[in-house]
Symmetry: C2
Subunit: 334 residues, 2 copies
């Protein structure tokens, strides 16, 4: 039982999903306090059976708080998470602020639950694409080590927040009506278009999102040298991310083995019946807790039966963010 | 000079683009005859400065024809292309009917123009994704042999024809208006969704589109053993295909070399300035003859500097189909 749970950034796309999951999963808490920026404070949100007021986040928001889930961006996490820890709270942080900090565990509960218990006040929730990819990769890796991953993503608007989802809607309507398009949230048109993920490109030529998938996977897997090649692309999809994944294993592996391993994996649903059109699709993954995995096949391009190709879809707001954070909370409190 | 050029399937998405290109590129022909199925015959289309009637395709359509460009699907090509050849015409066929026939050259004019001249009446135009990918890969391969390709596509609705493009439009409008969606052309919803390419999945686990990219690339490159791993995905984009490509070379190669090679490559435009948001996007590739290539970077996942990642976009109806066919015609007649 949590005595006092705080949700920071509660009016955003992920924050709202966290509130919905608290109610849905009956997360036990004596008190739930909701915090947002000045702009959103004063609203009321349904959570845990109550219609709770949203307070303005400030230095005193964490008095008496046991657990705080942050989904308000890196800047606010950097500013307020240490204050929450100092006030005695354990922070589960959805931002990228602390993910690569060696003193902060980075946790996907189905993969490295034990890491959660090594925390020193902050536990980081991984990047959404990292989580969704690895829900499919880890169950295989722990049986037959993955030596190389080549992944290309198909990322939904929700990863850029509620305003981005609204931009996809309104801009698409404007495009269909022949009205002029003026991108605001995204730097490029998103209606009937796609573009390289809108995060800065570094010296290596990889953008931040791609680098996160590489660095975070290595940290979560405890495999600092795992070879990973990432391409992150934003597509005009509302809220489920997809990824096309090419794997090289240490030992030969058959598609049937992959099927069996993934069928037993928690949080994964195998959707792989090409004859009847059964494969993972964002619309089917939307609102689902499970990541859908399909198109499992022996890689035609790798000798020795050591290659597998597969495709995964997962709800970016649920398993990609809010659900994983709530699962970390459950891991700590149950 | 072509005395008599016939266009078969002239009212489809590719057929209309062929007519537009004949006018735009001033393809010299004394006579241009347009052919379509019974359903579309009787229309008139602007081509080569005339408003020409569309006749109903029949066994006698090819009397006196020198060159015939077919874009009416595999079944019609199988039935009518041999008749056209028998009547003395050279056929440029956009369908997949003859592509893997050892007696039929499969030609991308920038890559294997000489193959065109070995024809025995039929020259095949490659699959759209095959063309667009290889416009970026070939200029590198001919200097530093590519040993392995891992590619994931982002394919536009136009690849499934004009009706599919219209379905994307109307279904998206219906979705936004909250109306019920009933997929007709595609087997799955395409509005705000994506799915594994809608071609049959074979014994190997690869669908026909993926297998085409493998088989056709090997044939065009004259590299029967080239290792290629393909994942073909349909996305809610109107008419430009994209591909995320991971390459392994025989020798080390630098991103700067790739830049230089692609800048000199005909039919390619390097769009690769991440700092200013410069990378290939379908909306920018639409209506363009060039394939846009960007996100060129050393592959973080391959040792020894032998890996490169890049992203390409090309207009599916132009270079992916109609333009390549017209270029083959120009190759034969100029």
């Amino acid at each position: 039982m949590t005595r006092h749970l705080a949700v920071v950034g509660t009016t955003g796309a992920v924050g709202r999903e966290i509130c919905a999951l608290i109610s849905e999963r009956k997360v036990p808490a004596e008190r739930i306090s909701l915090w947002a920026s000045q702009r959103s404070a004063g609203q009321r949100l349904a959570v845990g059976g109550c219609n709770s007021p949203v307070g303005q986040l400030c230095e005193k928001s964490f008095e008496g708080v046991d657990y705080a889930i942050f989904s308000a961006g890196s800047e606010r996490s950097r500013q307020f998470a240490p204050l929450a820890v100092r006030a005695g709270a354990t922070v589960i942080d959805n931002s990228s602020a602390f993910r690569m900090d060696p003193g902060v565990p980075l946790v996907i509960p189905e993969i490295n639950p034990k890491d959660a218990h090594t925390h020193q006040g902050i536990i980081a929730n991984p990047n959404c694409s990292t989580i969704i990819m690895n829900m499919a990769v880890w169950p295989l890796h722990k049986v037959n080590p993955v030596k190389r991953i080549v992944v290309s993503t198909y990322q939904a608007a929700s990863g850029a927040g509620a305003a981005a989802m609204e931009e996809l809607r309104t801009q698409t309507a404007d495009h269909l009506a022949g009205r002029k398009i003026t991108p605001k949230v995204f730097p490029h048109p998103i209606a009937f278009n796609l573009f390289s993920h809108d995060s800065p490109v570094g010296q290596t030529g990889y953008n931040t999102e791609e680098q996160k998938m590489i660095d975070e996977t290595r940290k979560i897997f405890h495999e600092p040298d795992l070879a990973i090649s990432t391409t992150c692309i934003r597509v005009p999809i509302m809220r489920a991310h997809s990824a096309s994944i090419n794997l090289t294993f240490e030992h030969p592996i058959l598609p049937e083995q992959v099927h069996d391993l993934l069928k037993q994996a928690p949080g994964v649903e195998v959707v792989d019946d090409p004859a009847s059109g059964g494969f993972p699709m964002p619309l089917d993954a939307t609102g689902r807790d499970e990541c859908l995995v399909g198109r499992i096949r022996q890689d035609a391009g790798q000798p020795g039966g050591r290659g597998i190709e597969l495709f995964v879809c997962g709800d970016q707001l649920r398993k990609g963010a809010a659900l994983n954070a709530i699962q970390i909370l459950e891991l700590l409190t149950q």
